[in-house]
Amino acid sequence: MPADTTVTSSDAETGVRGWLQRHLSKLVVAPSFLAAVIFFYGFILWTVYISLTGSRMLPDYELIGFDNYLRIWRLSRWETAFDNLFIFGVLFILISMAVGCVLAVLLDQRIRAEGVLRSIYLYPMAISYIVTGTAWKWLLDPGIGLEKAMHDMGWTSFSFGWINDPDMAIYTVVIAAVWQASGFVMAMVLAALRGVDDEIIKAAWLDGASLPNIYRRIIIPTIRPVFLSAFVILMHLAIKTFDLVMALTAGGPGTSTAVPATFMYDMAFQRDRLDFAATSAVMMLATVAAIIVPYLYSEIRGPRRG
């Protein structure tokens, strides 16, 4: 009878094969899950622990409390790194957002060759920071880059030596980073602008709104979540910035373009101060977490946008 067959086959599924079938997906995911737990969260905890010790070149597991978090502020190099992060972060985020938005609004006017332009603006994002940094190092080098090109063209009084000027070098990092990231902001904002229903804009025209009013009162508030996403992404990029600085200025001239990430690297691998390296790493993590956790929380738990 057919009913009997069904019973036998479901009996078989309670055996080893059945168990495997039910748990296969978990088994497949387990190794990478384990790796994530150990290498991300395990080492985060290890770093936090080290930041509470007096480790030098090698880890020392004797706890000394929160001393490092106070002493680090007395280092002028950390202070430079912190100031630079502030200058760089604020300028990088503001300029990237502004340039990205302007490009997006311009591209949104349905101009010709839009596809080509969009790709051109977006390509920098696909390049590694090392390449960006190296390319801009050459471009900004007075001996071989922009300045030389201007001199060759006959404009001999032209001078642009920011990259060698301790006071101005951090702004060259901003230039390179903005070049890299504003296309990405443009892509995000453009996608959001395109997502605004055409009929909404038509309705606003009929309601008597002017174009600036339509952007200010309707489009921008409608796509506000995108600005928040772009801000969060740029912010964590800014805090993590390491390779760009290494390739462009290597933190110099002197220590004038040091940022927290290069500070951490120097302390760990050049100055034999694992304790300060771990401390700065934890402070960076805390800053990123302070931004991303509320954001993720509001994205996941917040009311659905319809």
Binding site: D197, E199, I200, K202, A203, A204, W205, L206, D207, G208, A209, N213, R217, I218, P221, T222, R224, R304, R305, G306
Partner: protein, 374 residues
């Protein structure tokens, strides 16, 4: 109340000609329905009336003034969109207020107008909500409120009910009709639903491929379609089209077509109700005989004796489709399928022969070449 005139308006996007010369003249207070399948240019025409789309050629005239170059906001037109197009970042109240605010209406006046409109549409309790928190029917009402509050000269509706479920659609249809009766504003309403068009319109413009096929009051469109396309598009089920020949019959004319009854093929002659002079050239030529399903019914002696132009004939039944009120009975007339509306108590089984009655006072004749009404 404003009259609206569209003079030979054309619209092309590059080489695609979307509107190919549209003309219509609408008195103040009329309810014009643009009826046609999707892609025939209805929305394009509406957008041009609103000023949201440029006019390739022709003129649009509101209250005697050519408005081709007038900015949409100065045309005093309000529009309800298919997607409702509510501003997602604003509450219902702000949505309704936005147009007033942009036009510089003072705050107290705004409050008064909003509460009056909200009351009219029964959306007072929704004023504090965002569009995302509303159901489809509620959004629809808010979209209408936003249009109504400004008391414009002309209302444009672009398929406003097509996103609602069937029950709500019927309710809102009635409400729009009541609103029009109450406000008396000129309305241009786009739909592809012929029932909506029939119930709402004072004038219907049936469109196809960027031209108006017929512009007439609903009853005229229904009873005297200008061509076979209109007859087939309006009415559900559509008009029957029977290939026939016009023959002499007594001192009048009749349509003759083939029909099988009692197992043998034969011809049926149905005399025309008013064999006018114009039909003389068509004698002994092929025509298309159009008859609405409700003019083709089961034979009923009492009724046949009252109706002067009712004529009976026998025909084999192919298929039965009960709808409740009537049973749609499929028969073969002149080689084409025709549908008769039969009283459910008087149906005949498929394959058997039944006596039908055609009310020839509702007959239409079409030219088989041009498909136009003769």
């Amino acid at each position: 109340m404003a009259n609206l005139e569209v003079r030979n308006v054309r619209k092309s996007f590059g080489d695609t000609h979307v509107l190919k010369g549209i003309s219509l003249d609408l008195d103040g207070g009329e309810f014009l329905v643009l009826l046609g399948p999707s892609g025939c240019g209805k929305s394009t025409l509406l957008n041009m009336i609103a000023g949201l789309d440029s006019i390739t050629d022709g003129e649009i005239v509101i209250d005697g003034r050519v408005v081709n170059a007038v900015h949409p906001k100065n045309r005093d037109i309000a529009m309800v969109f298919q997607s409702y197009a509510l501003y997602p970042n604003m509450t219902v109240k702000k949505n309704i207020a936005f147009g007033l605010e942009m036009r510089g209406v003072p705050a107290e006046e705004r409050e008064r107008l909003i509460s009056r409109t909200a009351e009219l549409l029964q959306i007072d309790h929704l004023l504090g909500r965002k569009p995302a928190q509303l159901s489809g029917g509620q959004r629809q009402r808010v979209a209408m409120g936003r249009a109504l509050v400004r008391d414009p000269k002309i209302f444009l509706f672009d398929e406003p009910l097509s996103n609602l479920d069937a029950k709500l659609r019927v309710d809102m249809r009635t409400e729009i009709k009541k609103l029009h009766a109450r406000l008396g504003t000129t309305i241009v309403y786009v739909t592809h639903d012929q029932i909506e068009a029939m119930t709402l319109a004072t004038q219907i413009a049936v469109m196809r491929g960027g031209v108006i096929e017929q512009l007439a009051p609903p009853q005229e469109v229904y009873e005297q379609p200008a061509n076979m396309y209109v007859g087939g598009f309006v009415g559900s089920p559509p008009m029957n089209f029977v290939p026939a020949t016009l023959v002499e019959h007594g001192n009048g004319l009749a349509v003759r077509f083939a029909c099988t009854s009692d197992g043998s093929a034969g011809d049926v002659d149905l005399p025309l109700a008013d064999p006018s002079e114009d039909l003389a050239p068509w004698r002994d030529r092929k025509v298309i005989f159009g008859l609405r399903p409700e003019a083709l019914t089961d034979y009923n002696e009492a009724e046949a004796s009252i109706r002067e132009h009712a004529h009976a004939f026998d025909c084999r039944v192919d298929v039965l489709e009960p709808t409740g009120a009537d049973t749609l009975t499929y028969v073969d007339l002149g080689g084409e399928t025709a549908i008769a509306r039969v009283n459910p108590r008087r149906t005949t089984n498929p394959g058997e022969t039944m006596r039908l009655m055609a009310d020839m006072s509702h007959a239409s004749l079409f030219d088989p070449e041009t498909e136009r009404r003769i």
